[in-house]
Symmetry: C2
């Protein structure tokens, strides 16, 4: 507990660099200072005085809003950004009731306060960081989030359903009968308001939220059972993120759940979760095409026509909203190489790799050096294959234990829980750090990891592995946010490369022959198997396939921040492109990411969909512009 406290303090310090001298101890208390700021800020808001309100922000400041002011996921910067956002949203938002939820913390000149507030439409939570500027407390970062809509509170806790209908009634319908009737009518006599294509953790988490909110929905997935998205992958796969980071909404993993879930176990959990959360879910169902008709000028009357095949039988669905939750990785990038047609062995993309069983004693060449490549190389080696990894560009590797401890431990761990940082709080702390400056908090963490695992990195580089820490040294999480690739969380396979157990080759593939892979420098690698661990495209590729290339181009690239680092071209976007928020295509949404994002952002997406279902006005501030089509 003491240790946890110490670490928490360290983390708080890491997150709040020393931006101003400590106030004298004789001044007003942190509570009084936060209350004063909130009172003045709210007065300006009440007076609709946008400039005054913006004046309470520091010169360098960030306001991140999740749906509560903007009906969008947006970060604005500086007083000008705040004024611009408020000018557009203040009247329709009608915010009030800002108050602290617990006593504020002060560390290194930064006051941190948990907030609650209301808007005309709903209730919100926030996290405020104040620092002193020109002798005044000014907002450095403000996170505002919507968590419920007034009049549409979720049926939880005090509001949970009775289950039994007490009293006697000749029209009684049992829970089972209602379930059966709903299942029979869905897609035939009744239409889902929301169709979620893809039923992995993203679709399931969103399906659970929409069920809770009473939005008629349907999740469809091509696999035979919920969870098969995980079960069908290579057999040694375990989650790379630890359990505390992976909870789904409403129902947490039990205390005995493994730190890193084996794939079949997480598959079973997702299947059970889908059942007990009563998510309308069609397995063995594929969407084959979709088109949108706008309807009248009155927005919200538009409708999708989605052709699906359920258990092989064609069916037309007519949802009002379409969510693509088919994987943030997008469609597999399968390279087109000369000689692929003459190669006599097996060849497939990593996403189609069946596992190592058939390759005992075989010569295997894995093209790529990120997560999938390492996992597949490791499993092949364990089964006695002769394995060569072809590294085409540099990769960032962190050891799982170091990432867990240094990268996530202060927010998602037993020690975080012991320090009062629940999953829900951790999610908001995480969300409160503006993307623009997030790398500055990440760099010191990765510096620590570099130090701690120095021997490992030395060995790896000695083995010829081309290793990087991200262009600015900000490591894995920023690579994930910027490009969703370029890294490996080491659970053991990196040592195989460092030790030469898995052989390493370098460069692009020039062509294949009947029995070899030939690299650009002429190196010839004998191969019975070639695995293309060559990554994935942008998620709007799914939209191109399902809807049209035109819609995919209109929507543009999905994922990434515009950081002007490799594979994340600028301009700066402020938020992840197209994720969980309105796109340039009306009624088309993208949802996904890891379990953490599926849990956290499904709430904001679900609230946006619920509001539209209920006809609550949702004026979108700052609809993103499109700078890249893929």
């Amino acid at each position: 507990m003491t240790q946890a406290r110490e670490r928490e303090t360290a983390q708080t310090q890491a997150q709040t660099p020393n931006v101003s001298p400590q106030r004298s101890r004789g001044g007003p208390s942190p509570q009084a200072r936060v209350d004063a700021w909130l009172g003045a800020f709210e007065s300006a808001l009440r007076a609709r005085d946008v400039e005054a309100a913006a004046g309470f922000f520091a010169t360098d400041s960030y306001w991140r809003d999740l749906v509560s002011f903007t009906w969008n996921i947006t970060t604005v910067e500086g007083r000008e950004g705040v004024a611009g956002m408020l000018g557009n949203t203040l009247e329709s938002t009608d915010p009030s009731g800002f108050a602290t939820e617990e006593p504020p913390d002060e560390a290194d000149g930064v006051l941190t306060a948990w907030l609650r507030f209301e808007t005309g439409a709903g209730r919100g939570r926030g996290l405020l960081r104040l620092k002193e500027e020109d002798g005044e407390d000014r907002a450095w970062t403000l996170l505002t989030t919507l968590y419920e809509l007034k009049g549409h509170e979720e049926p939880r806790w005090d509001r949970r359903p009775m289950g039994a209908e007490h009293g006697a009634s000749k029209e009684r319908q049992t829970w089972l009968e209602r379930q059966q009737q709903e299942a029979e009518s869905l897609g035939s006599t009744t239409q889902p308001y929301v169709l979620v294509v893809g039923g992995g953790q993203g679709g399931i988490a969103l399906g659970a939220r929409l069920r809770q909110l009473g939005v008629p929905s349907l999740v469809i997935d091509k696999h035979g059972r919920p969870g098969d998205q995980w079960r069908s992958r290579y057999k040694s796969l375990c989650l790379h993120d630890p359990v505390w980071y992976d909870h789904l909404p409403y129902l947490k993993f039990p205390d005995n759940w493994p730190v890193f879930s084996p794939k079949d176990k997480i598959g079973d959990w997702l299947e059970s979760y889908t059942k007990v959360m009563e998510i309308p879910y069609w397995s063995s169902t594929t969407a084959t095409s979709a088109s949108y008709s706008t309807g009248s000028a009155d927005s919200g009357r538009g409708e999708w026509t989605v052709e699906v095949e359920r258990d092989g039988k064609p069916l037309t669905l007519r949802p009002k909203q379409l969510v693509l939750a088919t994987g943030m990785s997008g469609k597999p990038n399968v390279p087109e190489l000369p000689g692929m047609d003459v190669f006599r062995g097996d060849q497939h993309h990593s996403s189609a790799h069946p596992g190592p069983d058939a390759y005992v004693g075989k010569k295997c060449v894995v093209i790529g050096s990120n997560n999938s490549a390492f996992d597949i190389c490791g499993a092949l080696w364990e089964h006695g294959a002769d394995v060569t990894m072809v590294q085409r560009s540099s990769t960032h590797i962190v050891k799982s234990a170091s990432l867990m401890d240094i990268g996530l431990g202060d927010l998602y761990s037993e020690r975080a829980l012991a320090a009062g940082v629940t999953t829900e709080k951790a999610d908001l702390i995480f969300a409160s750090v503006p993307y623009r400056i997030m790398h500055t908090f990440q760099i010191p963490l990765y510096d620590q990891m570099r130090e701690r695992d120095k021997d490992f990195y030395d060995r790896l580089e000695k083995a010829g592995f081309d290793h990087d820490w991200g262009e600015d040294g900000s490591g894995l999480f920023m690579k994930y946010l910027r490009r969703g690739s370029g890294y490996y969380i080491d659970v053991g396979s990196a040592d195989l490369v460092a030790d030469g157990e898995v052989k390493l080759a370098h460069g692009q593939v020039d062509h294949l022959t009947e029995h070899t892979v030939v690299l650009a420098d002429g190196t010839e690698l004998p191969a019975d198997l070639v695995v293309y661990a060559t990554g994935y495209g942008s998620m709007n590729g799914w939209a191109a396939d399902l809807i049209s290339q035109e819609v995919a181009d209109n929507v543009g690239k999905v994922w990434g921040l515009g950081s002007e680092t490799l594979k994340d071209p600028g301009p700066w976007e402020g938020e992840q492109r197209n994720m969980w928020k309105p796109t340039q295509q009306e009624a088309l949404w993208f949802h996904g990411g890891n379990l953490h994002q599926s849990r956290h952002y499904s709430l904001y997406l679900a609230l946006q969909l619920k509001a539209r279902h209920e006809g609550i006005p949702t004026p979108v501030h700052g609809l993103q512009e499109v700078h890249h089509t893929a």
Copy 2:
């Protein structure tokens, strides 16, 4: 929150009658007084001074131990009882480290303190109530419970398994492969240490605990799937206890779970739970016979031979421990009545009632007036049957909402949670009230219910219903503990009787004719259907069927306290007969009860089984005597 606090205070007052004048405010703090008592008590224990230790108890006092001192579930009374118990157990228990877990409460002259302590074998929690006697703080009630065995702590929280095995290994076995291998070998090349017969909530909760503790176990059940125990019952059935009371170990229902689970929903939960908790569970399996061979004098070498049929195929299992979890209700009591052979309609015990669908417009006679009778009458009426209830003896009825609010609300409800009373705390508070005086806490609660629902009871009696409040006015929960019958938790059907929608007849059944039921007073009731809602026998009936009448008689009656009230003959037993503790038959155990009991007592039964599995000495203090064979 304020309201919750007020109610909590009210409850504390209800639970701690005014036994001594309030101390002056200037005296030592509650913490100091509890610390002083604990220090002195522990010194006496350390000195093995049994008489001195007993002297710290009040004249009227109760020490309830769940497995920590006695390897039994036992309550001793007064100084003599305490001295007797300590004389027998103190040396082998070697207790130490008594300390408060949070600041003690004081109300109405009673100090209440949450404790932790250790024994040689394990770690415990307790709840102590002190009152002043002869100017000294003396123990009025003490609860001691074991929660873990040293060196055998459960793999939870910080101890949870890693899941992934980091590093590369050519002998890697995946989680799925281990699961499959275990399933294949269980019952053929490996034997369960514990066989649990019966896989309803009781068997499932125990199976989960044993899995966590690493005790090789197997749960078998005759139904096709876990949860079918509920699914197969009449279709309008919902749990009669509210959700907060019904959690299983390790994995709580989500916040959106209905207050009263519909039967199919709880069935689905049990099935999912069995899967995600990895409980070794064979469905479609019946135990046909069992016998025990003692083996050598060295206890623990005995072994059961249990013949089972799995999917119709015979198989012999050889567990060391046998747990009957086939339902606390025991075997159905089917009356033998003249004319049952000539009756032309349908007739069956309530446990075999298929539901109302086939009886639309039919004349239905339900013999009995307890829970099942009311539920079945209500469902038949809802389906347009002509229903008559035959009341043979008086019944106690409480309205579900009143029971939930007044009877359970301070321990198991949203308001209890808001007041910091978690399920785990509530279970221990509940367990800390000695059975000997529990009725004195219950009577005032039922007096409140009588007052609140006066109109209802007036109407019911006016309709001729023979209503009681238990022999001593202590109501439903005492009836449940004493005899497991004689009551109905009204969810609506009682109004049908009060309103005459369900007709009421009185007396014993004399005989049946081809088309009627004839009562002792000559009343003739036309019948197309007769349902015998005539209750259940003692659980040792299961032992008679499975093992032998001799073993059943040796073990004696299961359930009940010896309260000398109807169907619970004396002498006073102090605890529920034969439940969750050693019986007169070595290696035979009974487990069951409602969801609350299945959750709470499964821990103590599992720890007893774990200790035996590990060869930890388990000297049983106060093995119960047998006073009744059924």
